[in-house]
Amino acid sequence: SENCIFPGESWHCLLCISFFSDSCGLYNVPKIKKRLYLSQAPEFIPPENSQYDWIGPPDPVSNLRPIRFHVAANESTLEKHLRLFRQETEEWNQKFWATQNSSFIKEKEEFITSCLKAEGLGLKDENGGKRKLSAEKMAEFYKDFLNKNWQKHADYNKEWYKRNITITFLMGKVTLQMFWKRRYTSDRSWYLPV
């Protein structure tokens, strides 16, 4: 266990072993790409024959649903641009909301702890459950949080509107392109992006 990061923590040692067992070729683990920005979503690989995008369960921190974008075999430049832009927007959104939600939770707990400390009360009540503050007291925190983050929210909103409209516009262009391809060429390998 002295070879591991946390000596004495056999659980962590186990994981070191499993990691390096893989590098020894003991387990055939595929290299899984890690999602960016604190995302805890397990990786999902859509079925090979699917021609559509896939949407997953909400991320536990950001509450946003991740999307796996389908890469068409004969993807045009426009389609690729749309897909990459949507991917980038998803990651930007994920980053904002994961940071926002986790800082909200963290600041809320700090507020509760400091209020309870000021009143001379412990974190747990008589029954051992977490002590809660009254709604009025919590409202002070909610107001403060909102006011503190006004500029950040305003900037995010502006950027989100721009990105959302751009994506919709690009989707419109891609749809028109597909109709054109279907109508005027022999290319029948298209699907209507809904």
């Binding site: 659980w11 070191c16 990691f19 290299k31 369960p57 509450n63 986790s102 107001k143 909102l146 006004w150």
Partner: protein
């Protein structure tokens, strides 16, 4: 960081190590379990033996919900490790800087953390097949479309809007024309569908973060943004055309203005200023005015009175609703009176509840209703004012909820009483005939 001797460890060493762990009895069945591994575990073979070891030990549920997890406390980087080895190890490596940077936020002892990790890994494992099933193809099935469109257009709210427009039409002092009435109702309904769709289109990430709105179609990926916009366009064009060409241009203009007000003013303002509530109240007030102008062709005092009653009603309704959603609004970045100016929120709700009594008394003065109306509407108006006063005084969840639910039946009741007390339009027609 990892010493080279780690590389020399074999599977046998791994098994021996397991025997040193808590659940010794499971290691004996190790090989058996691996052989009996279900096909669905095949893709996670690198973790199979670990899963079997702990799967019967713990049973914690993993809930997927939009509310941020209240536990564990502190940084979300302390949350459960992943199934994949590399990810798990990477997470553990990442946890070190998080712990060293913010020691005050780490409220768990190492034992509790270990138990947390074990229980969350198990819950991950037992639910990971469920999570994989939660991935859905973004593909529209025609049989689902009506339901999806209903949710996209907030059909219940649209129905309420059409009801208020219909009430405005019926209250107008003109003979009832069924075709114009139907055209007005359908046109207003389509305009409302369009406005609600655009609202949902703009609010996807915000809706994902609030419990009340997390099941909306765009949030769940049942429709693409382009589809939602196309649907909105497909509702706006016939809706406004019906109102403009089938009814009169004034009603059409009011409908178009209302869509603009809702989508381009109210929706962005929700995150910039508390003025959004007043704009939203105006949006709610316009449909009965549209109903009146559809009947008479002009903006009379009666139209403005109907609008004023709906305007005043919005405040006790919305302020009470928003009182219990303060946490969600704060986290989502919505600027509502209930969060930033709570005293104003309560005062405005009370003020406008009392205004309803005054406006009901004004109705007979403007020849909209008979004098019976202020009398028979007094009980319900007094009741909602009383609940507003209780909300003003107590400012708790219970009084807010009571006021909100009261507002839901108060409006239909008030409109119904108004209809029963409508001033007969025959006397007016006689006056017109004699004067000409």
């Amino acid at each position: 960081m990892y010493k080279p001797s780690c590389h020399r460890m074999t599977g046998l060493f791994g098994v021996c190590l397991f025997q040193g762990l808590e659940n010794v009895r499971y290691s004996r069945n190790l090989m058996q379990l691996c052989k009996q591994a279900q096909p669905r575990w095949g893709t996670f073979q690198h973790f199979t033996f670990l899963k079997r070891l702990y799967v019967t030990k713990m049973s914690n549920g993993l809930c997927q919900h939009a509310k941020p997890k209240q536990e564990p406390l502190g940084s979300p980087l302390l949350e459960r490790p992943h199934l994949a080895q590399e990810q798990t190890v990477i997470h553990h490596v990442q946890q070190i800087p998080a712990i060293s940077q913010d020691p005050s936020t780490v409220t768990f002892s190492s034992e509790e953390k270990k138990e947390e990790n074990i229980s969350t890994v198990v819950s991950e494992i037992t639910h990971e097949s469920g999570e994989v099933k939660q991935w859905k193809e973004i593909r529209v099935h025609l049989e689902d479309l009506p339901g999806i469109y209903a949710r996209l257009s907030k059909i219940k709210l649209t129905a309420l809007v059409v009801t208020t427009a219909a009430a405005g039409y019926i209250m107008a002092p003109v003979p009832f024309d069924l075709s114009v009435f139907l055209l007005t109702s359908v046109g207003t309904g389509l305009a409302s569908c369009a406005a609600n769709s655009i609202n949902q289109y703009f609010e996807v990430p915000f809706d994902s973060n609030m419990n009340r709105t997390k099941k909306r179609p765009l949030v769940r990926g049942q429709l693409s943004p382009l589809h939602a916009v196309t649907f909105a366009g497909a509702c706006t064009v016939p809706g406004i055309a019906l109102l403009t060409f089938g009814v009169n241009p004034l009603t059409g203009a009011l409908g178009a203005f209302n869509i603009f007000l809702y989508t381009c003013c109210y929706t962005p303002l929700k995150r910039l200023s508390i003025a959004n509530t007043w704009v939203g109240a105006l949006v709610g007030a316009i449909p009965p005015v549209m109903g009146w102008t559809a009947a008479t062709g002009s903006l009379g005092a009666g139209a403005l009175l109907m609008g004023a009653i709906l305007y005043s009603w919005q405040f006790p309704h919305f302020n009470a609703l928003s009182w219990n959603l303060r946490e969600d609004y704060s986290r989502g970045g919505y600027r509502m009176m209930s969060v930033t100016h709570p005293a104003l929120c309560k005062k405005v709700a009370l003020r406008h509840s009392l205004a309803l009594i005054g406006l009901s008394a004004l109705a007979p003065a403007l020849d909209v209703t008979t004098w019976t109306f202020p009398l028979i509407s007094l009980p319900i108006n007094l009741y909602i004012s009383y609940l507003s006063f209780q909300f003003y005084r107590d400012s708790d969840r219970k009084s807010a909820r009571k006021l909100f639910f009261c507002s839901l039946w108060h409006l239909p009741m008030l409109l119904l009483l108004m209809l029963t007390c409508k001033k007969a339009c025959t006397s007016k027609e006689d006056t017109l005939v004699t004067s000409s």
